[in-house]
Symmetry: C2
Subunit: 572 residues, 2 copies
């Protein structure tokens, strides 16, 4: 008798499981059910569909060889039966059947299974505020919503959009609205920064500065308390600080697992609502597996379990479930949280933990910020790519890397290499030594990632002492916060002197890098010197020298003015 | 008493060691000696200086903050004494002195050391053929040679260049001559392919095809037997097959260690002439360290020791030597052979071993070739990036990855991630699972590298059987080589039908991918079916299906027509 495999959910993990299991067990009878009419689409492409980069929603549902991944495709090409507009009502584990309802005629039926896969994904969080149900308030939950948003814009019904949520989707949507449709777009983020928890403050600020320069208005640390409308249509978003006019609102405040079916079936579900699975992605019922946004995934660095709603993980998990269904024992060892994001002409990416996240998880963590070139400094088109490396002090273990740079794959290359290092518990010494490919058009002899490893090594060994960029900026705003501090600007006089003119020669000392060894006696021994250069590299050189001549009281501005400038602070 | 550290060699590993050791031991007296007047330059930038991308040689010797790295810079900024045009004549180990000669006046002197570092680099190989000493025959050995080449071109003295050697430097020089100066350039390579040993045949052929399209003439498997001149000036290069006119010849046929000093001092040197060091980069004399092109480096995958002449390694090694000099025990665990190369509008890169190299090293190795998109197939500007993954069958250990694609950092990102995986002995399962950063503008939900890991897994498990591209092309040239083979082209009829028209419906069967499950009974059971699609993905799907219906005799063309087309083969 043919093995019957039923898969609930047809977007990412479900179809991946189905196709793979059909390859491993060609004789199996594989059925996907989904309540939607549209399946197997690239949900991560929605912002690019809305922007117009992707002209037709069908492109999000097509293969790379231009076939639409619909019921017909799955049946004919893959031998997989897909039943769309078919809702799973209940899993009857004892009978091993799924009770389903056909949405078109309301008829019900029981589908028997030998093994079941739950790939029900996630649903967007909705803020419990008045007006969330007004016409014109959208979530980015599925292709239908995206089609409606685009239609509305194309019909000229939108001129001002407010996006609630400054995560990746919110930022991508802001770009879509502004860059290609010329709309006004505001982002409201409840937390004090964009991409909260994903990157540290400096990196979110570099991103924020670029978004502002592109015309996106950003309000961080500010909550939407109400959405107001007229005649049922959205008109404005209200916060404690202001009222934002809006004829379209996107609510992008995270997602939560769709696990009602699993709960009702008595499967183990975490307090947060994610389906509990073992490393083989098997639920508490040995005949039921689960994959994708709906499961609780272990974070490799923290050991904690939680939702990991990424299309890239759903695909990996789907393959693992298929292997296990086919009797090829395969384990998923967990995720690390790699991401990348295009924002107009910049990109930002990270893997692992930010310093803030690492500390919140109880690590004795430290971080360094660098600002090296992506390719040889003499090669045309080079750019500075600030990186931030987070590590665990006691074990020297790498915990995460963040990067920011011009749009392109330079930051991706470093993030991906770091992600590969994280996979196997690399230390900062491994980061120093990893042999990245080098040629002047692509990288520097000592790659920016290797350099970040070296700087981390220096910090860990106590050979480098830094001032946090945030503390430095606070001091620049109000010197009284740290009266004993004084800047030592070692850049070229063209850059350093105007700062001294502006802030006073008692606050802003200027000695060019190359003259320090000759002139260090001019420096005050009773002050804390904040050594400032473009990238932090020369400053760290000078810090060591000054210590050797009896001036140990110094701090380096890691990442230097390169980072400050990208944050958007310019005093001149 | 101050510790005296003398470093012989001032290009890459030497200056890196000097600066780092001075930071670790600020009180040490650090001296670099070099016979050249120009030091601390980016030798890898020479092709870009010749091309004009880098306008002035001084840019190759300057810091990223625009200071020239000359004697004055090292002394004032770093506290390091540099003695240029000073040749080390002998190392007297018992007395712990280096005997040196000042080239400007011939005077001699002895420099005492507590610890010595040999960073004498490499020198270019010279072919022992007549005419190698003619005026106009150059090696890319130092900045002086590069300056002379550029002067000669700028003066209009060159219209046809012949490059002997199809390695990275030869290819970069060809681009410099053709792209920016409009010269004619021929590459002669003794081995049967460009980048021999570094990449497998398919990948060198994709590169070769692009170079040819850009006007570079390439002769592989062809040796220069003589260089001929008139009045002492080069005029032509002679091979057994032809005579190539040339008014400039570049000999780029590899390098060998400069280890004469070490040999004369009785230090252990390998049969190939590389200075033997332990993992701390200490020579057979505990007070003498060595780094850079002159040492024997262990290959992490093969365990073999040999020259590893890369600027990126020299920098890493210099840092390690400095650590050890300063009493911070640090080990260099060896190299894996990562590289990347720009060639006009394409790039090629690799890390680890090619299949050919792996087999030559005795591995029971296998390889898969893929041709996936670098970013979401619906995202504008996406491109196919063929990858090749080499692995060890018994252990499933990753041995290497090769990549080819449009100029940019997309290939670099995959190579760098693979290099990081190699660092820690990853398996193909790790390649499948590594969590690369995903967003549609940067990658695909299942990244091309993850996909290569999956394909390798299928091959390893016997779920995929491939035909080598080379064997396929041989068969296309002469069907008699494999009379039992027949192509099964599953692409769209627009692509497949013209092939059937051309080669005959008995040699070239066409059934679209989506129709195979309905029409497989049309297929001959007594023939070997070569399943052909664009990337190999659909073919492997079909291979499994056909086996399940009693047609096990099939082979997949890995990488598909995407790779064939890039190789430059087009039958229509």
């Amino acid at each position: 008798m043919k093995k019957k495999i039923v898969i609930i959910g047809g977007v990412a993990a479900g179809p991946k499981t189905a196709c793979r299991v059909k390859r491993l067990l060609p004789a199996a009878e594989v059925t996907i059910i989904d309540q939607d009419s549209l399946i197997s689409y690239g949900g991560c492409g929605i912002p690019y569909y809305v922007s117009g980069d992707v002209s037709d929603e069908e492109e999000l549902r097509s293969t790379s060889f231009h076939l639409t991944r619909d019921e017909n495709f799955f049946l004919r090409a893959k031998g997989v039966t897909v039943r769309t507009r078919t809702r799973a009502l209940a899993i009857k584990r004892r009978e091993k059947v799924v009770e389903v309802e056909r949405l078109d005629d309301g008829s019900r039926e029981e589908l028997s299974y030998d093994q079941l896969v739950i790939a029900t994904g996630s649903k967007p969080n909705l803020l419990p505020i008045p007006g969330a149900d007004l016409e014109g308030v959208f979530t980015i939950s599925d292709l239908h919503q995206a089609i409606k948003i685009k239609e509305r814009i194309a019909k000229g019904q939108v001129s001002r959009a407010v996006i609630i949520g400054g995560g990746a989707i919110g930022i991508e949507m802001a770009e879509a609205f502004v860059d290609l449709w010329g709309l006004e777009a505001d982002i409201l983020e409840f937390m004090p920064q964009l991409l909260p928890r994903l990157v540290d403050w400096e990196f979110s600020r570099m991103l924020e500065n670029h978004l502002r320069a592109k015309g996106v208005k950003i309000y961080t640390g500010e909550a939407a308390t109400a959405i107001e409308g007229e005649e049922g249509k959205v008109k404005r978003v209200v916060t404690p600080q202001r009222v934002l006019e809006a004829d379209l609102v996107v609510m992008a405040v995270g997602v939560r697992a769709r696990s009602e079916l699993a709960v009702a079936a008595g499967l183990a579900v975490s307090p947060q609502g994610n389906i509990v699975v073992n490393q083989r992605l098997q639920t508490s019922d040995p005949d039921i597996y689960a994959a994708g946004d709906c499961i609780a995934v272990t974070h490799r660095l923290t050991g904690k379990s939680g939702i990991a709603p990424m299309g890239s993980l759903a695909n990996k998990e789907g393959r693992i479930v298929a292997n296990n269904l086919a009797g090829i024992p395969t384990c998923y060892k967990g995720w690390v949280g790699s991401f990348t994001l295009k924002a107009f002409e910049r990109c930002i990416g990270a893997t692992g933990l930010s310093l803030e996240a690492a500390k919140a998880e109880g690590f004795d963590a430290a971080a360094v910020t660098t600002a090296q070139y992506d390719r040889a400094h003499f090669f045309p088109g080079r750019a500075v790519i600030p990186l931030r490396l987070v590590f665990d002090r006691p074990s020297r273990r790498l915990l995460g890397v963040q990067g920011f740079g011009p749009m392109g794959d330079a930051v991706l290359a470093r993030i991906d290499a770091a992600a590969a290092l994280l996979l196997q518990g690399a230390t900062i010494d491994d980061v120093s030594q990893v042999e990245l490919a080098y040629a002047p058009p692509f990288s520097t002899a000592l790659d920016a990632l290797n350099a970040a490893g070296n700087v981390a090594d220096n910090l860990a060994a106590g050979r480098l002492r830094c001032v946090e960029i945030r503390d430095f900026l606070n001091w620049m705003n109000d010197f009284a916060t740290q009266p004993q501090w004084v800047a030592l600007d070692i850049r070229h006089p063209n850059e350093a002197s105007p700062m001294a003119e502006k802030f006073g020669h008692d606050r802003w000392l200027t000695i060019p890098y190359i003259e320090i060894r000759e002139r260090y006696r001019e420096l005050p021994a009773d002050r804390t010197l904040l050594i400032i250069c473009d990238a932090g590299t020369r400053s760290s050189d000078i810090q060591i020298f000054l210590e050797s001549v009896g001036l140990p009281n110094t701090l380096v501005l890691g990442g230097g003015i390169n980072v400050i400038r990208r944050i958007g602070v310019d005093w001149l």
